[in-house]
Symmetry: C2
Subunit: 111 residues, 2 copies
């Protein structure tokens, strides 16, 4: 039986990873690796619809992975912490190792 504190810590971590676990959000995060971008720029780079981008940005902001600053009529987003970039880099390294396995992972749940 897990302690409540452990359950909470694990849920937090799962939530953090969930922020990275969607291709649209990853596209946004990688777009922000080069520096702050406003929503229009993000929409252009990622090819997401504006509401969709906004929606994912809300999630990323609420989860603390990005921060937003309004400048005039633009809202500029940036990564909230350097370690967010580190996580993306480290993920690349793991991927290089296990890429084939992940690529073949079409399996979801027991399907």
């Amino acid at each position: 039986m897990l302690l409540t504190a452990e359950i909470n810590a694990i849920s937090l971590k799962a939530k953090l990873f969930r922020g990275f676990s969607d291709p649209s959000r990853l596209s946004i995060l990688e777009c922000l690796l080069d520096g702050p971008r406003n929503v229009s720029e993000i929409v252009t780079v990622t090819d997401l619809s504006q509401p969709n981008a906004s929606n994912h940005l809300s999630c990323l902001r609420d989860c603390g992975l990005v921060t937003a600053v309004q400048e005039g009529r633009y809202v500029y987003y940036r990564l909230s912490d350097d370690r967010v970039a580190n996580l993306l880099t480290l993920a690349d390294e793991v991927l290089a190792e296990v890429a084939r396995g992940v690529y073949e992972c079409t399996r979801v749940s027991q399907a």
Copy 2:
């Protein structure tokens, strides 16, 4: 417009992170930080039902995050790469920075 190769790389990475994005799977991975464990041990430590654990283990195995070796009637699972552990550690560090933000992220999608 993203190039196809970029889309594939991003989808791969999203899939990798998805392996980490569920509390049950995270519990299993953290249990394996201490070394190889068989399914019964994993079930005991994580308090998951045996079919549920088996299901998540299948996913983790297919995604290349863990490897399995049968020994007698036991199947021992272990992390497939040291960097999997590194990712978990780095996630802890990011969490320490943005924990409050993530904790307050009760928002799912547009809810």
